[in-house]
Amino acid sequence: MIRIVDYGLGNILAFQNMYKRLNVPVGLAKTADDLSDATRLILPGVGAFDHAMEELDRSGMRARLDELVLGGKMPVLGICVGMQMLAERSDEGKLPGLGWIPGDVKGFKSLNQPDLLLPHMGWNDVRPAAGHRLFNELTTDARFYFLHSFYFECADPAHVAAVSSYGKEFSCAVSAGHIHGVQFHPEKSHHFGAQLLKNFAEL
């Protein structure tokens, strides 16, 4: 069962709807116990980095998630701020991230491009790394909806699963083994998003 980590942030309903239409069973997890039948995890997130990390801690699921993902190698997909949380730290906040994928989160503001409107808002083209199974059927003309002001910088370039361009080319999807993250919102990206979520379910 795919379990969506529901710690209070992110468009949980949209994920449920997407998977319902794909006929893939999905459930929510509000407590560590709810994770007992999980075979895959979705980690949503919106808003400020520190706030998200705090809420995740408050949910009481943090320890269990570390066990399942780091110890049990359970596939996980972080979405938007959920992806940023996979990093070790973020320029946006003071708290450490989950540290599941080595890297830092930086702000587009630090690019010092005064013409760059923030947040990065709208549909942008996504170029996946060759053969990446998360992007099956999404190798050409893939585009997704972005809504963020910070981006992930991988310590290891091998972890970059897809790139997009805004001010510069940045990694909009990361993958380290069974741990994945996408900066954009597949739950709000029509058939492109549906395909990606389907791919995750079938990984």
């Binding site: 919106v46 005064p114 409107l117 947040p119 808002m121 709208g122 549909w123 990206s189 029509h190």
Partner: protein, 263 residues
């Protein structure tokens, strides 16, 4: 590269979809849920739904209807109308809506913008400015469905919204509403030059050319429209339409040739 967004804007009045001209004479256009569903199937970039009664009637947003809209959308949804408190905004976001639009309440108490942004994130706070031009050519922001003059200029309010942490500003021309004769490009340009906030423009679109002209003028922008996507032909027959992906690509490549070069 980031694409301009083409955004249908739906007005809800008495639980039904309506279209106005200069914010007056609402004409009944049908069931809002079916409209949302059709735009979703046409893969619209984004959708704005505004309840035009809530503020005027001093009532709360219709949460039930909002939940129904959100359930039909596989694209971002922005909801506005009668949002006055942080709790309401949080509740709306919790129903599966991406962004909350503030207008009257944010103009009366600008701290609302930062307070809501603190809770749901800047990216989810949109400030809508309804602009009317006075007899002397002065452009001012009005609220309560175009009935109350705030006395403030759109430039001033857009800059303030940016300062207070809004994620986007929507510039809505009351004068051009429902006319389908083109956007107020001068106004759009003024706001574009004054802030670094993502901006959407609403009011006046009557053709894809109008949308192209806006994109040419402002670069990557949200081009929003009501009548254009809901009426067809000289009798303004109600029929929902939305550009195909091919039409959108063509529009973009014509209006932003530099983008086409990098594509």
């Amino acid at each position: 590269m980031l694409r301009p967004r083409i955004i249908p804007c739906l007005l809800v009045h008495d639980d039904g979809l309506v279209k106005t001209v200069k914010f007056k004479d609402p004409k009944y256009v049908g069931d809002p849920i079916n409209a949302v569903k059709i735009f979703n199937e046409k893969e619209a970039d984004e959708l704005i739904v505004l309840d035009i009664d809530a503020t005027v009637q001093g009532r709360e947003p219709n949460f039930r209807l909002i939940a129904q809209f959100a359930a039909e959308c596989r694209m971002p949804l922005c909801y506005g109308g009668g949002v006055r408190t942080v709790e309401q905004a949080k509740r709306i976001i919790g129903l599966g809506v991406e962004k909350v639009a503030l207008s009257a309440a944010a103009i009366e108490d600008p701290t609302l913008i930062s307070r809501i942004a603190a809770e749901v994130g800047s990216q989810s706070v949109v400030v809508v400015l309804d602009v009317k031009t006075s007899l002397f050519g002065k452009q001012e922001v009005w609220t309560h469905n175009g009935r109350k003059n705030s006395g403030k200029s759109p430039l001033e309010l857009a800059k303030e919204a940016e300062r207070l942490g809004a994620g986007e500003v929507v510039i809505n021309s009351i004068d051009r509403d429902g006319q389908m004769k083109g956007y107020d490009l001068a106004l759009a340009r003024k706001i574009r030059e004054a802030t670094r906030l993502p901006m959407s423009v609403l009011g006046g679109a009557g053709s894809l050319q109008d949308i192209g002209a806006l994109i040419k003028e402002c670069g990557v922008v949200g081009a929003s429209a009501g009548s254009f996507f809901v009426f067809k032909g000289q009798y303004r027959a109600v029929l929902i339409s939305y550009p195909t992906p091919e039409q959108k690509d063509e529009l973009m490549n014509t209006a932003l040739p530099s983008r086409a070069a990098h594509a």
